[in-house]
């Protein structure tokens, strides 16, 4: 049993230590409660820069901080590396993967989301998505080793699929991945291969809808697409992927041979939403998210808060977007509502404050909307750079990430071009 269970203070259990869970935990630092933070991994991940790990621009430790170190000074907080697999809302306990039960008085559910392959789970092994460090390492391995395979392949026709890279989905992650992959081909790997020119590698970005970055104003979508095309990405809009296998995809009936496919198309809420709905009258939306009350609780369960990507929340009549500032704000808000409950005050409804959105495309290329002002190109990229470094957790990370980026900027190099595993036989 964790230390918290022995005490008489209210027990707050937080499931997941992404932005939502971390900000909730921090808000409770000096509160008269016992907090237990549960996460499957040992680190808080700065997800907005995960694509940089996948594309060898940053090392994993630069964007991941050990949760227990980040929260070490909060003496009321226990950190457990564990996986929550069920919630017993009657018994008020979280069930962990080894059967251990964790009793709570208040629960904050912030487990995040996973990929959705639109009913085709068999595509997952051929087209990894990007949510965890393990995902990023897998994509890095595939992107870099495809070029290694190409260098070993004497037949140009057999080589072509190794030099064709497809990104499915043109949201922020898809745009960032495709832009960086094109830069790797055109800049980073120049002059390093003897049998082919890395600039001949093709990067194709497939989007089901009519424009890239659908969450952005449409003129910024146009600007983003133009920037992508300028650095060599082929953008195909209104494209429907109907098949993915080990050697390529079928899009609008046409087969494209490609050995590297990245999935950035759909997300699906954590199965903990369904676990909650199984034994309660909790409504879920089509993506499996919990349709929360204005106060961010699960309907009928005032002691259970649901935040971040698992929450379908509404603010000012608008759905709250699945971005990190929203998760942070929800985390803080849930913690504050718990503190209000402890003082006997009623919970307050959540209001999302939208400071802006940012997506990067490549070197000196980005689009942004900050406090209603639209930016693109170099100014947007500088804004993106400083915003992301500023929000990185921990001073050391900020410093080293800046050194890495300065280095990459001047040399076009990506220093983390390391694949841990050796070549695989057979």
């Amino acid at each position: 049993m964790p230390a918290s269970i022995a005490s008489a203070r209210p027990r707050v259990v937080i499931i997941g230590c992404g932005f939502g869970g971390l900000f909730a935990a921090r808000r409770l630092a000096h509160a008269p409660v016992d907090v237990t933070v549960v996460d499957r991994t040992n680190h808080h991940l700065f997800q907005p820069l995960l694509y940089q790990v996948a594309t060898a621009g940053l090392s994993a430790p630069s964007i991941a901080a050990p949760i227990r170190h980040v929260l070490a000074r909060q003496r009321n907080t226990t950190v457990l590396m564990a996986e929550a697999i069920d919630i017993d809302t009657r018994g008020r306990a979280v069930v962990l993967e080894d059967g251990q039960r964790l009793a709570y008085d208040f629960l904050i559910l912030a487990p995040g989301a996973t990929h959705s392959y639109f009913g085709h789970p068999e595509w997952a092994e051929h087209a990894p998505g990007l949510k965890t460090l393990a995902d990023a390492f897998e994509i890095r391995r595939r992107v870099l080793l495809a070029y290694e395979h190409a260098e070993r392949e004497p037949d140009p026709q057999a080589r072509a699929p190794w030099l064709t890279q497809i990104v499915i989905g043109a949201g922020a992650t898809g745009v960032e991945m495709a832009g960086t992959m094109a830069e790797i081909a055109r800049q980073t790997l120049r002059r390093e291969f003897r049998r082919f020119d890395s600039k001949s590698a093709r990067v194709i970005l497939l989007e089901g809808g009519p424009r890239v970055l659908p969450a952005y104003p449409s003129d910024l979508s146009t600007k983003a697409q133009r920037q992508l095309e300028r650095i060599g990405v082929t953008v195909r809009l209104n494209s429907r992927v109907t098949h993915v296998d080990a050697s390529g995809v079928v899009v609008d009936g046409e087969r494209i041979e490609a050995r590297t496919v990245v999935w950035a198309a759909g997300v699906q809420a954590s199965p903990l939403g369904a676990a909650l709905a199984r034994s309660n009258d909790v409504p879920l939306d089509r993506a499996g998210r919990v349709i929360v009350t204005p106060e961010l609780t699960a309907p009928g369960l005032p002691e259970v808060y649901v935040i971040g990507d698992l929450a379908a929340a509404v603010s000012d009549g608008q759905p709250v977007p699945g971005v990190s500032p929203a998760a942070k704000q929800m985390g803080r808000h849930a913690a504050e509502n718990i503190l209000r409950a402890l003082r006997g005050e009623p919970p307050r409804p959540f209001r999302y404050r939208d400071y802006g959105t940012l997506a990067t495309i490549g070197r000196r290329a980005a689009v942004a909307q900050i406090f209603g002002v639209k930016l693109w190109g170099y100014p947007a990229w500088l804004t993106w750079l400083f915003a992301h470094v500023y929000f990185l957790i921990g001073f050391r990370n900020r410093l080293v990430v800046l050194v890495d980026w300065a280095w990459a900027y001047w040399t076009f190099q990506r220093f983390a071009r390391v694949v841990i595993e050796g070549i695989r036989r057979g």
Copy 2:
């Protein structure tokens, strides 16, 4: 076929791009030969700092540089990520793992060594050794997750094995690992756990011989042992390990329950030595190393050089030690002998120049013998620090490694405390 095969220039194939292979390749940069470098991984590894990756002090990219980037400007050099599995000395070709053959006029064999479990290969899964980045990640995972398991274990008696760490073998790697593991327990993780004091973790260093660092002068061995004991390592000399399993080891008939066991006891040459001996009259020593001629060739095969950890070489009547300066010198020497052969000159015998040896124990603790001068404690540690940063490949690495170390020095923190995988079920 690689570009080299099409040309009429002599083809030099180098197997392995550790220190020996890399220095051989570099020496051939402007030579009238076609060089092909073959390595199982995509990176050259700065192995002297690998224990820092295993103990979360450095990220993998800080000590690993993409081979093809390091050699990109050598226009006569092709890099292939591949595994050499056999050598056809009659046909003068290397056989790769996919059956491809790589023809050579000169061959430099520098594949390095692996672990030796003294006839107990079943110990490997319980006691990983430290040769590759994959090894380092596995040890990092085990060291860090043992503490996570301990925090989840309510029973102190069941918790103890998670807080007992054993290092088998007190050569340089064993001493460095044990010293750093003790520092992690005593400094890095202080105040981060709620159910136990990380300082209570035990680190036990087991050595079969009568002293630690057997390759060093005996007074430095004594000094190293004293420094290890001061930072909390239990050193047991003349200890024979007779059994290793998932939950502990048996040493001198006594069972010690320990969930973290690291193997630093024995090395064994690459199987390519045996492959060479199968079809030729090439003598191997007990560790499977090729007993080379004074010129560093395999006896009877004047076009086949064997260097680094695969070579049992003798210089001035003394065996050449298995350290990185020796591998570099052998690599350069083999390349020079090949250039001499191309000029019709006879090969020269190899002479090892010993500039000194260095081993670190922990913060401000090390032993060194440089140009015959013995150092220990803080001066030895400073020497070690600057020597290692100086020899790191690539300016960026040096800078970032220095930042990381300065940070670690002032804060006692180890920034790379990141385990990629989540908790495993069942």
